[in-house]
Symmetry: C2
Subunit: 570 residues, 2 copies
């Protein structure tokens, strides 16, 4: 079989204007970026306001393993399969981050014959949205430090005279807004800025990866440009010397930040290998970020297509949880079904070998034990009130008996259906059966509900989230976290939903705990208020909001060839 | 008169495909980005290889003052004026940096009726080139720190086993490669990275503004993608513990850096208000960076147009010097004429008031004294062997007698011509006369020569540059600089040209010295080897490669309006 990038290069793409026309977009609603990408003007939101809405399917997965589960492959394959069945289907995916591309994971365009193409245009820059988020974010960081500098340097009176602005009295030790870069850069996790005689005040700081910026969550959750403008105005940049928040609006930088993101708010239309439409918008990293595609992209797709396939990052405890408890209440559109992606290999890696039987093979033991993880995710999705279709992302070497065993177990545990997907090797054809089951699932009566009510107190929401959402016994707050929780209450932000930044490698906060861990308590190191995005993040355990490059990073294999094509991205 | 952004919004733009067709580009050579921008595929370089080449005009200015001289306005106006005379004219300008847009200067699209439009698309992101440079640059920074981290953490033997790579033994105190961001962010000038137990090794570092990245100079000076790939491989990232350089090639990151910049190497075509074509490529900041448009854009324009107008940043001691001594020898195409932009206001601000006469008005005294600066720039350009046309960027309030006086003085001092430009207020019409004089100048016999021969020793080149190029008596090297000069010699890079990062506010290194300073010695703090771009930079005086935001930054005025348009950019 050809490599992903070879398949992408060999693909006969349709002009993106044709993809757009087939989906029902008007030429005036498109801003083409080359032959294969187009941004969509938000004027369409008004046009589609009263149009009938399609069905919404959210794709999630079991707890990830180093082998990958193929969630994006399955999302794209399913969209292609639905299209093959004659439905007007559209995928809504997130823009890949450059961090994993040069780190370990590689690109995020799917793979095999279930790809968004051209994959290198998707993986590198796309139409610049992530760069715009970095730029807007870092302008605010520069602005807050510059204001600190000038107020300190000039003194209150002289600062007022020169600037004609009211002094903000920012506390240099309480700058909450970090900087961001879209790379895995470990050495920027803890830094000191403002050193030297004329660059101060000096203070500790940090860089996050751009996907984890509150602005990325704002991009995902905004309903239109004016909504984004308002949300950006609300972000908390720092505290003043009296402990009161300094927002982007107060610093006068919110307008400029919005201007930088004025193009980024328009979703980008691309196509899959079978010519199905696909909107790309907002960013990944559902462990440390919101990690879901945008409400705007969803709303456009729902207004044009019969069925929309979107994806929440990592397992159903991560992107799916944030989708259900944060995005759905803001979006207003509930999901009609969930697809839970699994591979035999991933389940076995999630298993814990137990030598309790001579008759069972080691492989089957691993599968049985790993199945506990799949069951947990099935039950997790069911508690949100929507039907769950288990999708087995099949490899050529998979054992048919094991697949049958898995199907029967899943159904027994309440899955609406369990179907194999061979989209990687066979494209749209390989996902037809899965597509049929998904269509059936979306016709079920919808009983979607969030895990908790936002009107509950913060502690109650947190307990509910960790107990129902992760199966934990409770939480343990650090002293810092306790203080922050009180501050959030004092600022009257306790009506916001609460989510977690934690390892995606376990349902718990501890990456070592495989399967379906029980009887654990989640330590919360700190809380971060996202006043503009509209949620609170609890930082669990030692999770870091800036990844690092590994010993053998993927950048070693990436280059341009003689024809000027990018090679070495998978 | 309307504001710049109102004029830009009201403009009736032609489709960029029409601009391209008029210039002689083939549809297959274009990658359109919306209606008003298109990247140009480099396949065109092969097609134009043997075509006749147009004339080249470089626009420079007197020493800048807070009032601005209107160099970009004049470059665009001149292109429009040439077009009005019936010539196929094309401008080659640099992409604006976001630093000045949110800082003090504002946008860089020209102004009035001499603008590149749409100005907000030019000023914000354009087609993402500066973002790509930032991203490629910061990947290398992350890669070098990650390599340091893993080699130190694992030890030589275990690092080799896990990575299958040869250890590089980088000296953490000799990481030469900084990080970059396209903002004015003073607090990132001196920082410490790699703090905390698991993020090390800790070391001092710094951010430059992206325009000052060596990768931006490489973008400007590369002849094609493969040339850029080779140059990126050569950049020095660090020294190892034995003092030998670690290049991007040795770290295995040069291919990935090139992949990130694979689209950025294609120039972007836009249009002026009169529909003249304009290529935008590479970055500004001719004080601390190369600060000239790209050789690739120039070559495309020269192969298609009768006459090409490009711009070197700041006074003729800055961008123009780098253009003549670095870009021209690499490009192979010498300039046919120079345009030297001046305003009465700027000259007066460059003047020093002397109360030696009761009969002369204060204004005229300032003008006479300020004229010394203009004369210096006229003579400076003449020594490069090309005719210089002085362009007086005229304001409605300018005194006609003063203009006549300036004309006669300029001609007396050797200017080929001196003509008024009213492009700001009158567009193409306002620059017709100037265009006529420029055409005449390009027909003169071309005697272009660089200031020095690259085969001269480094010290000799440096002395020549400061004596002939700035009128200094000599240089004084710091101990660091002396050591660095020796290291550059040991590495056998002494054949490279040498240029200076210095204040643009004086011909000297001292911003206080107005007019045409004499008898000064330039202190050199350090040398930076740009092995990939192919030049050495001497850091003069206290110049900083990262600007800061002022007390009353321009971002305060920038916002999006109800219709989603960006407002407040000038």
């Amino acid at each position: 079989m050809l490599t992903d990038i070879e398949i992408s290069h060999n693909a006969q793409l349709k002009p993106i204007t044709e993809i757009a026309e087939n989906l029902g977009l008007l030429p005036t609603e498109l801003v083409t970026h080359g032959e294969a990408k187009a941004k969509v003007n938000l004027s369409i939101l008004e046009r589609l306001k009263d149009s009938p809405k399609g069905k919404m399917v959210i794709v999630t997965a079991v707890t990830p393993t180093p082998y990958g589960e193929g969630k994006t492959v399955t999302s794209i394959g399913l969209t292609q399969g639905l299209q093959k069945l004659g439905f007007k289907a559209c995928a809504c995916l997130r823009q890949p981050s450059m961090g994993p591309i040069f780190g370990i994971k590689g690109g995020a365009a799917g793979g095999g014959y279930a790809q968004v193409v051209p994959m290198e245009e998707l993986n590198f820059h796309l139409t610049g949205d992530i760069h715009a988020v970095s730029s807007a974010h870092n302008l605010a960081a520069a602005a807050i430090d510059a204001r600190l500098h000038h107020e300190q340097r000039l003194g209150e009176k002289e600062f007022k005279r020169q600037s004609e602005l009211k002094p903000l009295h920012i506390d240099p030790q309480k700058v909450l807004w970090k900087r961001v870069v879209d790379h895995n850069d470990r050495s920027l996790r803890e830094i000191t800025v403002g050193q030297g005689d004329i660059n101060g005040p000096q203070h500790s700081s940090s860089f996050d990866i751009t996907a984890a910026s509150e602005l990325m969550a704002i991009l995902a959750l905004s309903k239109n440009l004016q909504d984004m403008r308002k949300r950006i105005g609300k972000v908390h940049l720092a505290l003043d010397k009296f402990g009161s928040p300094i927002t982007a609006e107060m610093l006068g930088v919110a307008g400029a930040m919005t201007a930088i993101m004025a193009e980024a708010i328009k979703p980008t239309l691309m196509q899959t290998l079978s010519g199905a439409p696909c909107f790309i918008h907002a960013g990944p990293f559902a462990n440390i970020a919101h990690g879901n595609s945008s409400i705007i992209a969803d709303n456009i797709a729902l207004g044009l297509a019969d069925i929309v396939v979107t994806e929440g990052g990592f397992g159903s405890d991560m992107g799916f949880e944030k989708y259900c408890n944060i995005k759905v209440p803001q979006a207003g559109k509930v999901p009609d079904a969930a697809v839970l992606v699994v591979t035999l290999k991933a389940l076995k890696a999630n298993g814990v070998l137990v030598n309790d039987s001579e008759t069972k093979s080691v492989e089957h033991q691993a599968l049985e034990s790993g199945y506990e993880n799949l069951r947990w995710h099935i039950l997790n999705i069911i508690q949100y009130g929507i039907p769950v279709v288990v999708a087995i992302n099949k490899f050529a070497t998979d054992n048919d008996d094991e697949i049958e065993w898995l199907k029967s177990k899943s159904l027994q545990d309440g899955a609406f259906a369990c179907e194999v997907s061979e989209a990687f090797a066979k494209g749209d054809q390989g996902a037809e059966q899965l597509a049929k089951e998904v269509i059936k699932a979306t016709k079920e009566q919808n009983k979607f509900k969030t895990l908790y009510d936002n009107e509950m107190g913060l502690e109650a929401k947190l307990s509910t989230l960790v107990e129902l959402g992760y199966g934990a016994s409770g939480v343990e707050l650090s002293e810092t976290a306790k203080k922050q929780l009180n501050e959030i209450k004092l600022l009257a932000y306790d009506h916001l939903p609460i989510c977690m930044a934690k390892t995606p490698l376990s349902i718990s906060h501890n990456p070592e705990l495989k399967g379906a861990p029980k009887n654990f308590i989640i330590p919360i190191k700190e809380f971060r208020l996202n006043a503009g995005a509209g949620f609170i993040t609890a930082i669990a355990g030692n999770v870091m909001t800036m990844p690092g490059l590994g010993v053998k990073p993927a950048y070693l294999n990436i280059d341009v060839n003689e024809e000027g094509h990018i090679v070495g991205v998978s």
